[in-house]
């Protein structure tokens, strides 16, 4: 499936959309396609929103952000994100924030078909009063732990190194929370560097069988400027360059028009 068709078929206005990736294999090309197609009122979900979320937010695609750490990794702030939160430009952005442990377990619950997950966390932080968590008592010991609600995106988008012709997907290196994010979602789109005849086994690889993936699109370079282990390195200059573009509404608007 071609990327524009796949995004058109899978991502709708008002959807809860997770584009996951933990520094590695960020589905940037798919995010840009969502911007181009002018999707609106999205609830964007991701543990570590970075450049492509800054771009989606600046472009006015998002109504809400569900996250645990938002920054330009290794560089600094996300200025479009800050502009939306601090000055409501171009739109107000509702926030629902968690810790990484909380977000990861929300995906685990979603992937497991459970309505919630339990962790030892949030106690004594101001996070608990600004987000959706509940105390839960161990029925054996009486200890009070924290429950977080399951996350089940309407669509999860990830980028992977390879798929085979049957649609089985393989990714390796730092694989983050991508398996959980796909399994938790109602629909899923995987962009890949290449489609191959057979997936030879690789150390550390995660394989997602075709029957749990809705669509696969070959998008070589689809994770740039982040990296795809075995294919290309992170373009660190692009991360630094984004800092300058994103600081200025006019520069960002010019970037958006050129997209």
């Amino acid at each position: 499936m071609a990327l524009p068709e796949a995004v058109a078929a899978l991502v709708r206005d008002g959807d809860t959309v997770a584009l996951e990736g933990f520094t590695h294999l960020i589905p940037v090309a798919a995010g840009h396609e969502i911007i181009r197609q002018g999707r609106r009122d999205l609830t964007l979900v991701r543990m570590t929103p970075d450049l492509v979320y800054d771009q989606l937010i600046g472009a006015g695609c998002a109504r809400k952000l569900v996250f645990s750490w938002g920054g330009n990794p290794g560089v600094g702030s996300l200025h479009r994100f800050r502009d939306a939160v601090e000055r409501q430009w171009p739109l107000p952005l509702e926030l629902e924030e968690h810790s990484h442990a909380g977000m990861a377990n929300r995906y685990v619950a979603g992937a497991s078909g459970l309505p919630f997950a339990v962790l030892r966390g949030y106690h004594g932080t101001d996070l608990s009063s600004h987000t959706v968590v509940r105390p839960i008592e161990c029925p054996f010991t009486g200890e009070v732990l924290t429950a977080v609600p399951a996350l089940n995106p309407d669509v999860t988008v990830i980028h992977a190194q390879r798929a085979d012709r049957r649609g089985n997907v393989q990714l390796w290196g730092i694989t983050g929370v991508q398996k959980e994010a796909v399994l938790a979602a109602r629909r899923s789109l995987v962009t890949v560097e290449e489609v191959v005849d057979t997936l030879d086994p690789r150390p550390g690889a995660v394989v997602l069988p075709s029957w749990v993936v809705t669509a696969v699109a070959a998008v070589p370079g689809g994770a740039r400027p982040s990296y795809a282990q075995g294919y290309y390195d992170r373009d660190n200059d692009a991360y630094r360059a984004w800092d300058a573009v994103s600081r200025d509404r006019a520069a960002f608007t010019a970037w958006l028009e050129a997209l």
């Binding site: 990794p73 560089v75 030892r120 966390g121 004594g124 101001d126 290196g173 730092i174 929370v177 282990q229």
Partner: protein, 276 residues
């Protein structure tokens, strides 16, 4: 090679004190790296801690196990990672696990000796803010958020914090408590059921602070070369107490400084994602 230690390690690794000029950030990083001596495993927070932890592996702690929230255990990067998800971390690690496994199986049960955190703001009881400055709903500065820090601060056996010391970053009470240090003071951690000991060291560009055992308030225990108590107090938003046995941090040895400069020359000067 080095046995477990109880107090902070402050002495230089080997060799003569260097004669080259040393920046305050370099002194901070070297002091932070020294503190890791004798520890088995360090959960490396985003930002300044990563440079210090990598320096530690090149100086006094060659066997230190670096654990990153991206899922890498025992990484041996040859240059400072561009981010906590740098590909070299995965390529050189003993094991790479998923992010949920990292938080659930490795961090949560208290297997990790030291959690090493950066911060945007810290307060007298070592509570950390990386969320917001100003009111939550109408912030003057929106910071990146919690990341892995709340559970690192709760679950590691000990926590070290590294950040630059100014009256803007060292505040009497953080506006938003993202990660708990000593809460409201003695007894808070136990009442909250937090298993780890909390922040036992705060390492800055001016010196080192540690909690007063009686009050859990951070007080000055070490001054870096050339820094005065007055400077440290002026850079602190509360009435900073000084430990009775206040000591001087030995300056970086030639070995330490060479290792640090070799490290930072091969990568970025040091990512500051915990700051704005």
């Amino acid at each position: 090679m080095t046995g477990p230690v109880t107090g902070p390690v402050t002495g230089p690794v080997t060799g003569p004190v260097t004669s080259s000029p040393v920046s305050p950030d370099e002194m901070m990083t070297v002091a932070a790296a020294r503190a890791l001596r004798g520890r088995t495993a360090c959960f490396v927070g985003i930002g300044l801690p990563s440079v210090a932890a990598n320096l530690a592996r090149r100086t006094g702690s060659p066997d230190l196990v670096l654990v990153y929230e991206s899922g890498t255990i025992g990484a041996r990067p040859t240059r400072p990672p561009l981010s906590i998800g740098d590909g070299e971390l995965a390529e050189t690690a003993d094991a790479v696990v998923s992010v949920p496994e990292m938080f659930n199986y490795w961090l949560q049960p208290g297997r990790i000796d030291v959690g090493f955190l950066g911060a945007a703001q810290i307060d007298e009881h070592a509570n950390i803010n990386t969320t917001v400055i100003g009111p939550y709903d109408t912030p003057s500065v929106r910071l990146p958020g919690a990341g892995g820090a709340p559970e690192i601060a709760a679950s590691c056996r000990e926590v070290y914090v590294v950040l630059r010391q100014t009256s803007r970053t060292f505040v009497p009470r953080v506006a938003f408590r993202t990660s708990v240090g000593y809460g409201d003071g003695p007894g808070s951690r136990a009442a909250l059921g937090l298993p780890g000991r909390g922040p036992v060291l705060v390492i800055t560009d001016l010196g080192i602070l540690a909690p007063d055992p009686a009050t859990c308030a951070l007080r000055l225990t070490h001054l870096h070369p050339g820094v005065t108590v007055e400077q440290a107090r002026a850079a602190t938003g509360w009435d900073l107490a000084v430990a009775p046995d206040l000591a001087d941090t030995p300056p970086p040895s030639a070995v330490e400084l060479a290792a640090l400069r070799a490290l930072t020359a091969r990568g970025p000067a040091g990512p500051h994602e915990g700051n704005t």
